[in-house]
Amino acid sequence: MTEFNLFSKAPNGELHTKWKEYKESLKKLAPEDANKYKVIVVGTGLAGASASATLAEHGFNVHAFSFHESPRRAHSIAAQGGINAAKNYKSDGDSVMRLFYDTIKGGDFRSREDNVYRLAEISKNIIDQCVAQGVPFAREYGGLLDNRSFGGVQVSRTFYARGQTGQQLLLGAYSALSRQMEKKKVVFYPRHDMLDVVLVEEKAKGIVTRNLINGKIETHSADIIILATGGYSNVYYLSTNAMASNVTANWRAHRKGALFANPSFTQIHPTCIPVKNDFQSKLTLMSESLRNDGRVWVPKKKNDQRKPTEIPEEERDYYLERIYPAFGNLVPRDVASRRAKEVCDEGRGIGPTGFAVYLDFQKAIDEKGEDFIREKYGNLFDMYQNITNENPYETPMKIYPAVHYTMGGLWVDYNLMTTVKGLFSIGESNFSDHGANRLGASALMQGLADGYFVVPHTAMDFLAKEAPLMKDITDRPEFKEAKDKTESEINRLMSVDGKMAVDEVHRELGKIVWDKIGMARNETGLNEALAEIPKIKEKFWNDISIPGSDKDVNQELEKALRVKDFIELAELMAFDALDRNESCGAHFREEYQTEENEAERNDQDFKYVAAWDYSENDNPKLFREELKYNNVKLKTRSYK
């Protein structure tokens, strides 16, 4: 019998009215009372900027921190496709219930019903809010908002602004934040890295930061702390994430007692430009929409060095069309990614590295004409050509899967509070809404739902039950202790004096994580990862070199502090993937598959959130939250 020892604290009641009733029951503070409290928000991307602005509007004094020079640089800005909302503007039968169901099913039944329903409900308010701010969404000729369909759902519910939806939404949240900065309700700390959470009497009451300009280690106190610090895809070294995206703030919170949930749930996007060589610094996504007209194939023969155009039709294997006659090239992300890996592992991959497959538009060009393809995908083809120097109108694109989102993150309850009192986590940094696989256009939705519409209410309720500090308490011993610890860690890093650049160690770590905790995992590989990661850790602490001073701009030190935490996280990911003896969503354990090589879920034993407690000298300890499905039926996904 599985023991469950973690509870979501979701209120009882009817799914459809639960959030509304709960929100009304939460304690409120009038602006003059809210003004007595100080809130620290770490990270000012979509989730952090929207939360900071909204809390400031309610009267709280917000201190917002970012390692970027400006909130507008956050990685939310790079999201292309769109944002889902159950507006049903197309009258195609969409509803909150349908968005809720699609999200639960897409997550392969590993997310919380209550949270996901709330997200679907709030999705509509988000669009209203963004339009009021002046976000220039795409419109129809009649002047109303346009929608498009997106990955694997049967309705049109995705709002978009060309291929730059994330940019426009972030600039909207940034403008709301800027307005509060002008009113002095938000103080913004640019170029500050958060390096620790400070607990006072078991509650989060402050943070330790490093000023990236002068290296100064600072402490800041507040009544609550909200982490909006994004995902950790860069544990793989190569990902579609921005270069500086990292797990450090979350990891430091984890070390202070915040449980880390489902760390091994990481999403691999099937259509990215493949790795060219060892100097590659990051990967670029090519929109999923290309699979509407592109056909995926590899040569039937192993190690076939011929040019793609020289390989005759009968010697090509259109493997997705072969294995999935019904869905063909349009199978979901996790399935398409896994099959690409499979054919490359067989030695049939193409290109200089052998880790790529073709995405071929020839048939579509022959049938529909080049102009049609140009009109539909012109900007993507240009982008591809700019990066690869190959013309996809003449030769097939080369693509390969890459990591681009992490479903795992800090465990939070229904109020988005972590297991540390007064420490909240929002946006990609928490684990909450996407289960084992996120649907396209749902990340922007969740970041803004948490920031604009959930955490301002739940945090206010928490604060209303707390006496305000009303003063700076950084003179307390807890702050000095945390600051000393941070300083001594930095001193230790600066004194390693080896011969490797931090990037080189990071690249080695990334290879292990990608090979063993990537698209497909098995017990042997995971145990190998657990044996190899400590060696990377040893290498890191003995062989890296950080020139210059820690009292100055030092980008190598910034990287070292992040990689140190990625190494520890990688170990936890392996533990998590080992514990979950089933396959679900993006977590594919090779031992648990059907005869047709599909993911085999085990609802009997693994219908839970795995949340891990940090231990300095021992293995992490597992806590389980049972997932209850009262409104949906558990099903097996099939795409044949």
Binding site: T54, S70, R139, M243, F279, S281, K282, N386, K499, Q555
Partner: protein, 254 residues
């Protein structure tokens, strides 16, 4: 390919900078410009020398972090391209490549090629928003906006705030940046109500921050990686005149 880099090295804004020469050999022409700098930096780290500081993050041309002068041009030689999207094949074997930070009084040097662009944030803070609180918004489709205006607003709003316009301008004017935001909001009904006040405040902040005046040379648009057009400046001027006029009339009536 081999390249000879001349890179501006400067400890901080108060330090005197100096150009230093570095040679890199056997560079794959298909790597990006910033990957070439990564290679240089790994080499410097291994030699226990200070690596070159430069800003960058998304490496997809959208976050606006990167940007410095390459052979005298912001973001280098390729049209409508940020540094991070520039590849080494845009250069020739044995080329001399000069790298300097964006030069403008309002962008103090932080270190090497990294500059402080907080002045841009302060321009936005002074009025680059619609004054609406969370939760007060009406149903989204209750506002209908002609597609033409929505598309134009999008084009203005596509500015990534990198600062290339300022660096390209002989007067270090921030007119293109400021006008892009003014245009974006003045083209939409949501933004029009505060329009007069907004343009006055944003222009005043731009002046306070020490940016120069606009003399309509068009260098800014020519070098803008997102091709933000000169029409934005015309729109700002129009808004500004209307704003000044209404301020004048108001005073007269008092």
């Amino acid at each position: 390919m081999n390249v000879n880099l001349k890179i501006w090295r400067q400890g901080s804004d108060s330090d005197k900078g100096i150009l230093k020469t570095y040679r890199l050999e056997n560079i794959d022409p298909n790597i990006s410009f910033l990957e070439m700098l990564d290679i240089l930096n790994i080499k410097l780290v291994k030699e226990k020398k200070d690596p070159v500081t430069f800003d960058h993050d998304c490496r997809e041309g959208i976050c606006g972090s990167c940007g410095f002068m390459i052979n005298g041009r912001p973001h280098g030689p390729q049209k409508a391209t940020t540094v991070c999207q520039l590849h080494m094949r845009a250069f020739n074997n044995e080329d001399d490549i000069l790298l300097e930070p964006f030069r403008a009084e309002s962008f103090p040097v932080i270190k090497d090629l990294s500059v402080d662009r907080k002045s841009f944030d302060r321009i936005i803070s002074s009025g680059g928003y619609v004054s609406t609180n969370t939760g007060e918004a009406p149903e989204a489709n209750s506002i209908s906006i002609e597609k033409e205006y929505a598309d134009e607003a999008f084009l203005s709003s596509a500015c990534i705030g990198c600062g290339a316009c300022v660096a390209a301008c002989k007067n270090s004017s921030a007119m293109l940046f400021t006008s892009a935001k003014v245009s974006h909001l003045s083209l939409l009904p949501q933004g029009q109500k505060e329009g007069k006040d907004r343009v006055a405040k944003m222009v005043a902040t731009m002046d306070e921050e020490g940016f120069g005046s606009c003399t309509n040379t068009g260098a800014c648009s020519a070098e803008c990686p997102k091709e933000i057009g000169q029409i934005n400046i015309a729109r700002l001027n129009q808004e500004y005149i209307l704003s000044s006029l209404s301020g004048f009339l108001k005073k007269k009536n008092e």
